[in-house]
């Protein structure tokens, strides 16, 4: 039971590592951006897991229902912000990739590096 | 006078430098300004002389960047003397360089005069330094301001030698001198020059020897072997610069700093009783002998003079580490005496180059008939180097030997005698050939004397070299204060 209770954290770790691995070893820049997204959403999962309380409900007060248990609103707020940051980063990164493709004609990291070296 | 006027001594040449920069377009104005600056500076410096010889020690703190590290100036016998020599010789050197630069119509003369003024300002700063920090600051400034002078010609070979010059001086000062200063500061909590030294009671045993080593080799300008490489390298510079390096500012600043550090940081009697510090006199002796021997084998006049300088500098260090009052006086006076002698020699060399474009020794045969005045001056300088009366060299050697006998330091005595013989061996032949030998085949001999300005400078310095033999009382009085104030 306790172990199942930690399962979310393990998934968080695994997702984080998948993202990191792709970030380091993938050459395609778009892939890197997707990997970045996975990497970040792992952290979202981590925070949201923290906010959960047993027998809790979403932190919205329903009129007339007394002494409810609410899950923790704070991590949810943080993650709302973090998601926005994530999409912004993705958009900007994608824009850079598009420009890179226009300048270099490729979106493979190693090829771009090679071109930089010779220029 | 009011101690707060001390910084004027530095400020004056700086202002001069700026004025020169602005007047760069009109050579006459420019050179008048440098000459004026030189004279006023000398007057200013000498005006302090009476006070200091009455035993006053004016002191002024400019700013205190870090607690315990202040930018402060003070005048004491050693510094006074150094300041006097430098500022006075600068006048002559200026006159001379005007003649030389015009005679060889060099380029970038404005830069030359600016850096010249900066160098003097730095030298003044070293002379007036009241603590190691100030000393270090101006020491570096001197190095940097002389670099453009050494690299004046600007061709590849010159640049290379200038690189050596800068590399050695900057490297040693940052790599050795700075740690030594920090060590002193961390150990004693102060860097102020104090009579009787400050390290006593804080550092002891082998550490003292190590610290001394850091200082001596850190001050590369004193050219104790093996950090002497920069001096021959700097021979690529135009002659006035060589004169500046050898007589006026640079090397003098080196030995001056070492003497000052030994007297005011270590303290003479503390060092005298510290066995681990004895290695220094052997290093000095080694430098003296080796330098003289190398000088024997030189065929280029200026290079020979350079090695002779290296030897003479170690005289001062030798004298200092004899650690006896008389020897300290000798050390101080030798700084002056060597200055007069060596500047004469370099002026002579420069005169020969300007008039006859001769640089090699073998070309000098019989030149005495063509350039009598120059060669006469040269002879006087050489005699002073050897230490023959009636020249300045004799006075200082006399005191050094006296100190050596006081200390019954026969090693020192032997070294000095030996080196004297060697000096004689490489100077006398030149004089002989110059006056008596017939010109070497294939050397054109139809040239006259050097320009007037050069001759004037020569005359002055050579006369000084003689005069100093008879009339050296004020300086002696000044420096004997050093001795009296020294705890014997």
């Amino acid at each position: 039971m306790k172990l199942l209770g930690l399962f979310n954290y393990w998934v968080f770790a695994v997702l984080l590592m998948i993202g990191l691995y792709a970030l380091i070893s993938k050459q395609n820049l778009v892939k890197k951006i997707m990997a970045l997204a996975i990497f970040q959403s792992a952290v979202f999962l981590f925070f949201i897991t923290m906010s959960r309380v047993d027998e809790g409900t979403a932190p919205i007060i329903q009129a007339g229902v007394a002494n409810q248990i609410f899950s923790n609103p704070l991590p949810q707020v943080l993650i709302l912000t973090a998601i926005v940051v994530g999409i912004s980063t993705t958009a900007l990164g994608l824009a850079i990739v598009v420009r890179l493709h226009e300048e270099y004609g490729t979106v493979e990291d190693n090829e771009i590096l090679a071109m930089d070296r010779e220029s | 006078m009011n101690p707060s006027t001390l910084p004027l001594i530095l400020l004056l040449p700086l202002v001069g430098a700026i004025a020169i920069a602005l007047a760069g377009r009109w050579p006459n104005v420019r050179e008048t300004i440098s000459l004026l600056t030189a004279v006023t500076l000398a007057v200013l410096v000498f005006s302090w002389f009476p006070e200091v010889s009455e035993g006053l020690r004016p002191r002024f703190v400019l700013s205190e960047p870090l607690p315990g590290l202040s930018l402060a100036f003070s005048l004491e016998p050693l510094g006074m003397m150094f300041a006097c020599i430098a500022s006075f010789l600068w006048i002559i050197n200026t006159i001379y360089s005007i003649g030389y630069m015009r005679g060889n119509n060099e380029k970038n003369q404005t830069r030359f005069y600016i850096c010249f003024a900066l160098a003097i300002a730095a030298a003044m700063g070293i002379a007036l330094a009241d603590n190691l920090f100030t000393l270090f600051l101006f020491y570096e400034l001197l190095t940097l301001s002389t670099y453009p002078l050494v690299a004046h010609k600007g061709d590849a070979k010159t640049i290379a030698s200038a690189r050596v010059y800068l590399g050695v001086l900057l490297g040693t000062s940052i790599g050795l001198l700075l740690p030594a200063i920090i060590w002193t500061w961390v150990a004693t909590g102060t860097t102020t020059f104090t009579l009787g030294g400050i390290v006593e009671g804080h550092i002891a045993g082998a550490a003292v020897g190590l610290l001394l080593g850091l200082f001596v080799f850190g001050i590369g300008k004193a050219a104790v072997m093996p950090v002497h490489r920069w001096l021959p390298a700097a021979m690529v510079a135009p002659t006035p610069v060589s004169a500046l390096l050898h007589a006026v500012a640079v090397v003098k600043a080196g030995v001056f700093s070492i003497t000052k550090i030994i007297i005011y940081i270590f303290g003479v009697d503390f060092l005298f009783n510290e066995p681990s510090a004895q290695w220094l006199q052997f290093a000095a002796a080694f430098t003296i002998i080796t330098a003289s021997i190398i000088a024997l084998y030189q065929t280029n006049l200026k290079r020979m003079l350079a090695y002779s300088t290296i030897g003479q500098l170690s005289y001062v260090i030798m004298a200092t580490v004899i650690l006896k009052p008389m020897a300290e006086v000798g050390a101080a006076i030798h700084i002056a005496a060597h200055a007069f002698g060596k500047i004469t020699l370099f002026f002579a060399a420069g005169a020969i180059y300007t008039a006859a474009h001769k640089t090699e020794l073998w070309q000098l045969a019989g030149i005495g008939r063509r350039m009598p005045i120059t060669m006469a001056a040269f002879t006087i300088g050489a005699l002073s180097m050897i230490g023959v009366p009636p020249t300045a060299g004799f006075v200082s050697k006399w005191f050094i030997l006296g100190g050596a006998f006081q200390a019954e330091n026969y090693f020192a005595i032997f070294t000095i005698i030996a080196s004297t013989v060697l000096n004689a061996m490489y100077f006398l032949p030149i004089i002989y050939f110059a006056w008596l030998a017939p010109p070497a085949p294939g050397v054109d001999m139809n040239h006259g004397e050097a320009p007037k300005a050069i001759l004037l400078a020569l005359a002055v310095t050579s006369t000084l070299t003689i005069v100093f033999f008879f009339f050296n009382q004020p300086l002696l009085d000044l420096e004997s204060q050093l001795v009296e104030s020294l705890p014997l």
């Binding site: 199942l4 209770g5 930690l6 399962f7 979310n8 954290y9 998934v11 968080f12 770790a13 998948i18 990191l20 691995y21 380091i24 070893s25 993938k26 050459q27 778009v30 892939k31 997707m34 990997a35 997204a37 959403s41 979202f44 999962l45 949201i48 923290m50 906010s51 959960r52 309380v53 047993d54 809790g56 979403a58 932190p59 919205i60 007060i61 329903q62 009129a63 899950s71 923790n72 609103p73 704070l74 707020v77 993650i79 709302l80 912000t81 998601i83 926005v84 940051v85 999409i87 912004s88 980063t89 993705t90 958009a91 900007l92 994608l94 824009a95 850079i96 598009v98 493709h101 490729t106 | -």
Partner: protein, 325 residues
Amino acid sequence: MTMLLIGVFLLSLLVITAIAIVRSEDLFSAVMLSGIFSLLMALNFFLLDAADVALTEAAVGAGVATVLLLAGLRLIPPKEAPGRPLRALSVTVIAATALLMIYASFGQPTLGDPLAPTQQHIAPWYIEKTPELIDIPNIVTAVLSSFRGYDTLGEVFVVLTAGIGVMFLLGGGRGKPFSRLDSQAEQGLSGHLIPKVMARLLIPFILLFALFIQFHGEYSPGGGFQAGAIFVAGIILYSLVRGEGLALSVIPPRALLLMSAGGALLFGSVGVAGMLMGGNFLEYSVLAENPVIGQHIGIIVIELGVGLTVTGVLLSIFHAFAARD
């Protein structure tokens, strides 16, 4: 227990999808998979009682991000070059991180533990005080827009920055911006009857829903950001069906820019108003005699600001990608 098991099931799906994304060489399918990934993530969030986050993740991750990636893929080769073998460096880094995290996890409170420090310290205060201090049902909105309104201001500016960046990089530079508007090719699916009709049917509802999310955010999940995202989804659908040019004539770029900047300014000016009326920056309580009313005013206005900025920025980003050739 069942919830827990469902959670475990969904999480495992999540991991599988992630691996699939990394492995697939065709970027189009990778994009689709990442859309699925976001949906699964949203489901998980919902299971974990984070309704607002789930809504946002669905709208942004599955919606906007996918559309942006597709728009980007229009401009770059959709195939990934054959990958190289795993590098020692990456493997070591991964392994190290992995061990760290697993190691750490055993010191952590388990899922849903009501005694965890997070449930003890600050959250209870929010839950307890929100009714009396701010008096809106949705505690998340309360915290987001009032207690930590400063962070939200920052969030708005992050979005604005992204917009500025994309417009700076793609809007200018090579060729003039939105250069394909005149070309016939960009008529979208407008020739096709069924999508056209359906879109006409749906778009009003989508926009309506967006407005609902916008102004009902204090009572139910939602708020400026989600609303903005959905609104944008509506417009994007429009421009897919009726063509880029028409969509742009409906809301011209300049207007989008005005919306983006204006929203941010609106948000900020509420804060400044608080200052001028004698409170601290972003202190809504001073906006009206009754602090609670003041809070309501403040929250509504800043949510509006957020909505405006998000709509403006996301739309201009989409156009910047879609209109580039």
